[in-house]
Every structure is written in structure tokens, then in C-alpha cells.
């Protein structure tokens, strides 16, 4: 097991470094002078040169990359071009909103997916199954930010149950904040949940046809007990794969949905940074988002091995 984990951690580190290099190349080496971007096209050459030196952009790329990386490890990310405050201060506040939002959405989508998927599989080809699968097909097709708008219209404008947007800040109490995050996470979870529900259903149905399920029934286990003890764990394997893939969709979804609800998370931050031409903030936020996606996929890899003992054997 430890060999397995060590191998995965190495892959994780390599992927993270690779991702950071890609971001660095795109953001700093691609044509487009950050100083020029900040000052605007009609800035004087001298002003551009001065800013270039001030930002340290005249130094060789390798050195700048090294500084960035050591900066990340020490929490020294430099100052925002637009706000003149440390990037980390901006990011920290936003992270405390985006991470809970993402976690809440993924939890909600998994709960939705498992309950709908299992129910549909148990009622295979009956009315309930067909209706749910029709709805989930619709759910897949709906853009999450439109759903967000619809939810606002319904719950905030028509019913006035929940706030239409904004985020009070964690100081205001846990429940108020949870309420503010409920609609956004619902908008995100519906789409991902619909995809996962379909995977869960087909996966459960497939596992039910396996020989070992017949063995379990032949032992005298009821349909229910067979489902919980023998089918579910095997059926979760493909669901897990797709959850890993869908997490990136969910995270980029938060970027969009945060803007629908005016929630000051990473998505709002990065959009503001783009409008302010604050490339250093964009760079770090993109790396952060990419890191979250990579880490989640790492966790998925580890979970595989926990669920399926065969995988461990292959790797060692």
C-alpha cells in the first residue's frame, strides 16, 4: 500500500509542477507584455520600461519561475498590480468561500446521484426510472449559470425564501452563510448530479448482472442486502472515475456561478483581476484552481485502491 501511495504522490508532484510550468509559460512568456497590458497601449515607452523593472519582469524567465515557486511555498506571492495588497490576502478570503462551496456542491451532487441512481436502478424500466432518467437527461443539458438564474427567480424573487446573492462573510454566523451558498451549490450540483446519477444507474444495473451477485443471492441474501453489501461497492468504481472528471467541470462552474450570485470567491476574484489587468492575481488563482483539480484526482486515485483491492496488486 505504501509503495502504491508513494508512486501516486510522485505523479501528483510531477503533475503539479507540469501545470505550474504551463501556466507560467502562458502567462509570462506568451506575446503580450504585462506592463503594457497594465498601463494600456498608449503608455509611453519609459513608463512601460519602469514598470517592467518594478515588477521584476526584466529578469530571466527561469529565475522568475524559481521565485514564483519559492514564493508559493513561503506564502509570498507578491503584490496585486491593481490593489497593491499581497495576492495571498485576496486569495485567502476567496478560498474560504470557494472551497466550502465546491465541497458542498460535490457532496450534494453525490447524494443526489446515489439516491436517484439507486432508485432508478431498483425500479429498472418502470415509470419512476424512466421519468428520472428523462429529467436527468434534461439536467445534463442545462447550463449551470442559467439554472442559477432560474433558482434565483424562483426562490429569491418569487418565493423569497433564500437570498438572491451576495455572501455575508463567515463572521455573520454559519447558518446565514450556508443559506447564501445553498442556491449556488444547488445550481452546480444539479448538473453534475444528473451526470453522476446516470452513471450510477447504469453501473448498478451492470453489476447486478455479475456472477457474484447471483452467488450472493444463492447464499440467501435478500435483494436489498445484496445491493448494499455486494453491488454498491463495485458499482462505485466507475462513478468515482466520472466524479473525478466532473470535478473540474464543477470547479469551473463555481467560477461562473459565483458571478451569478455575486459571491466573492475565487471566480469573482479572477474575473475582477482580468478586468483590472491584474495578471499576477490571475496567474495564482489559475494555479490554485488547477491544483484543486489535480489534488481531487489524486484523492480519486487513492480511493480506487481502497475500493478495489485488485488495483493495489497491479501497482506493487
Amino acid at each position: 500500500m505504501s509503495v502504491f501511495i508513494a508512486k501516486r504522490v510522485l505523479t501528483l508532484l510531477a503533475t503539479l509542477i507540469g501545470a505550474s510550468i504551463v501556466i507560467f509559460l502562458v502567462m509570462e512568456i506568451l506575446p503580450g507584455d504585462p506592463a503594457l497590458v497594465i498601463l494600456g497601449v498608449d503608455a509611453s515607452d519609459e513608463a512601460v520600461r519602469a514598470l517592467t523593472i518594478e515588477l521584476g519582469l526584466d529578469r530571466p524567465p527561469l529565475e522568475r519561475y524559481w521565485d514564483w515557486m519559492t514564493g508559493i511555498l513561503t506564502g509570498e506571492l507578491g503584490n496585486s498590480y491593481a490593489y497593491k495588497v499581497p495576492v495571498w490576502e485576496l486569495v485567502e478570503g476567496a478560498l474560504l468561500i470557494t472551497i466550502p462551496l465546491a465541497l458542498m456542491s460535490i457532496t450534494l451532487s453525490i447524494v443526489l446521484a446515489l439516491s436517484i441512481g439507486l432508485y432508478a436502478a431498483a425500479n429498472h424500466n418502470k415509470a419512476g426510472d424512466i421519468t428520472l432518467m428523462g429529467i436527468s437527461q434534461l439536467g445534463i443539458s442545462v447550463p449551470n449559470f442559467w439554472l442559477a438564474i432560474l433558482l434565483i427567480i424562483l426562490f429569491a424573487i418569487e418565493l423569497r425564501w433564500l437570498p438572491a446573492g451576495g455572501f455575508p462573510g463567515w463572521k455573520e454566523g454559519f447558518w446565514v452563510c450556508l443559506k447564501a451558498l445553498l442556491l449556488p451549490s444547488l445550481a452546480l450540483a444539479t448538473v453534475v448530479g444528473a451526470i453522476l446519477a446516470r452513471i450510477t444507474r447504469s453501473s448498478v444495473l451492470e453489476v447486478f448482472r455479475e456472477d457474484y451477485v447471483r452467488t450472493a443471492r444463492a447464499k440467501g441474501l435478500s435483494q436489498q442486502a445484496t445491493l448494499w453489501r455486494h453491488v454498491l461497492r463495485n458499482a462505485l468504481i466507475p462513478v468515482l472515475t466520472v466524479t473525478g472528471i466532473q470535478f473540474s467541470a464543477l470547479l469551473t462552474g463555481t467560477v461562473v456561478v459565483e458571478n451569478v450570485f455575486h459571491i466573492p470567491g475565487l471566480g469573482s476574484l479572477v474575473l475582477k483581476a482580468i478586468n483590472n489587468r491584474d495578471t499576477i492575481v490571475v496567474e495564482n488563482v489559475v494555479l490554485l484552481l488547477a491544483t484543486m483539480i489535480i489534488v481531487v484526482n489524486f484523492v480519486v486515485d487513492i480511493l480506487y485502491a481502497v475500493i478495489d483491492p485488485r488495483l493495489k496488486a497491479h501497482d506493487i
Binding site: G18, G32, I140, W146, L150, I152, T252, L271, V282
Partner: protein, 259 residues
């Protein structure tokens, strides 16, 4: 359904019920009528016309983005399968960590450097599609390289590139077409999200995402305006997903039986 959208887009090239660009302030927020099928927006633009022109825009973005991914991705995939060795290794490692950069993330990077615009969003979505196609193509191409008829072709002295075009490509094509339909739907969603954020298509060009963005500020006044563009996106994506499923059933009977 997809055909309906194509027809809408085609018609809008020549004719729309009203003008999608004309701003007539006196006609603000008109309810649906014979002249304005779905009413007008806050600038007095005809919503139905905007939707139809928006269809055009979505289709162009999606077609170009998917084509970029398709051509580059499929070529890379075929190359990886034909060459094997380090070529394959490099291509696959690259597509391995590209999963960390979904379309919206790459679009954010690109717009931060190059400024917002329709071209950038096309580029970002296209870039994201490359590894998806590359991986799929390589996977199925590899399995076809191992088949007997390819062995026979190699034994008869045909070169790798000739085999690739004569035997491999035709056999992986059906899978690629199915994947393209699905990515087409994803591209439409991504484009809408990007132009909603203001990173994609710029005004006055109508696009579904932008319309939603503008409608959101007016949610309290006229909620219906926020409904139509989203509905259009949902219908487009729904249709494409069904088309993808249908194509898979037709082109790959093996897969459909498994489901």
C-alpha cells in the same frame, strides 16, 4: 431538434422577424406579439431575432472550436499510435495533465493576456478539446493496429502512414464522430458560460450567454427574458446529446447493447 437549430441559424442569415441590432428605446419591454414573437428587451431589440442570430454565433464558435480539437487532436492521436515509442509518450504525458485546465480556465488565462473576445474563447475551447480527441483516437487506433487486417497490410509492405489513412482512420472515425457531437454540446455550454462572464463574444454581437448576463440585471423587471436564451441553450445541448446517443447506437452496436 439539432436540425431545427440549424434551420434557425440558416434562416437568420437572411431574415429575422426584427433586427437583432436595432435599438428602439420606445419599444422597450414589449410583451410577445405578432411583430415581436417573444417581446423585446431593455433596448427594444427583438428577442426572437437575437436568439436566432445567437444560434448562428454559438454554432460558429462550436464548429470552429471542435474542428481545432478534432484536427489537431486526431492527428496527434494517430501519430502517437503509428509511431509509438517516445512520440506517444510525450503526446500522452501532455494530454495527461491537460485535464487540470478545463476550457474556462484556459480562457481565463488567455483573456488575461490577450484581452476578451470571441476568438479567444474559440481558441480556449479548441485547446481543451485537443487532448480529449488525442486520447480517444490513440486508444482506439492502438487497438486497431493490433488487428489481423492491419498485420496483413503491414506484411504486404505498406508504410505506416498509408496504413493509418487506409485502415486506421476509417475504423476510428465513428467513435470520433460520436465524441465530436458530445464535445459540440460541451462547446456550446462553454461558449455560453464565457460570454456570460464577458470573456467571450463581445457586444453588439448577440450571443446566448451575453443575453443571459444582460437579462440577469433585469430579473426583477422581466424574468421571461432570462428564460428564453437558457432554454435555447438547453434545447441545443439536449438535442446534441440525444444525437450523440443515437449516433452511438447506429455506429457502434456493441456499445449500445451493453447499455
Amino acid at each position: 431538434m439539432t436540425a431545427f437549430l440549424l434551420i434557425c441559424a440558416a434562416i437568420s442569415l437572411f431574415w429575422t422577424p426584427g433586427s437583432a441590432y436595432d435599438i428602439t428605446i420606445t419599444n422597450r419591454f414589449l410583451p410577445p406579439s405578432a411583430d415581436h414573437w417573444l417581446g423585446t428587451d431593455q433596448f427594444g431589440r427583438d428577442i426572437a431575432s437575437m436568439l436566432m442570430t445567437g444560434t448562428q454565433n454559438s454554432i460558429v464558435v462550436a464548429v470552429v472550436a471542435v474542428s481545432i480539437g478534432l484536427f489537431i487532436g486526431v492527428s496527434l492521436g494517430l501519430l502517437a499510435a503509428a509511431k509509438r515509442g517516445w512520440t506517444e509518450e510525450i503526446i500522452m504525458r501532455f494530454s495527461d495533465f491537460s485535464f487540470a485546465f478545463p476550457a474556462i480556465l484556459s480562457a481565463i488565462m488567455l483573456t488575461a493576456i490577450l484581452g476578451p473576445g470571441g476568438v479567444n474563447s474559440i481558441l480556449a475551447i479548441g485547446l481543451y478539446n485537443i487532448p480529449v480527441f488525442a486520447r480517444l483516437t490513440r486508444g482506439s487506433a492502438n487497438s486497431i493496429w493490433a488487428r489481423e487486417f492491419v498485420m496483413a497490410a503491414r506484411a504486404s509492405g505498406k508504410g505506416r502512414f498509408r496504413i493509418t489513412f487506409e485502415h486506421i482512420l476509417p475504423n476510428v472515425l465513428s467513435l470520433i464522430i460520436v465524441q465530436a457531437t458530445i464535445l459540440f454540446a460541451i462547446a456550446i455550454l462553454a461558449e455560453a458560460a464565457l460570454s456570460y462572464l464577458g470573456l467571450g463574444t463581445q457586444p453588439p454581437e448577440p450571443s446566448w450567454g451575453r443575453m443571459l448576463n444582460e437579462a440577469q440585471t433585469l430579473m426583477f423587471l422581466d424574468p421571461m427574458q432570462a428564460i428564453y436564451p437558457g432554454l435555447a441553450i438547453a434545447i441545443a445541448v439536449f438535442g446534441l446529446n440525444l444525437l450523440g446517443d443515437g449516433l452511438r447506437d447506429v455506429l457502434d452496436p456493441r456499445l449500445s447493447r451493453k447499455r
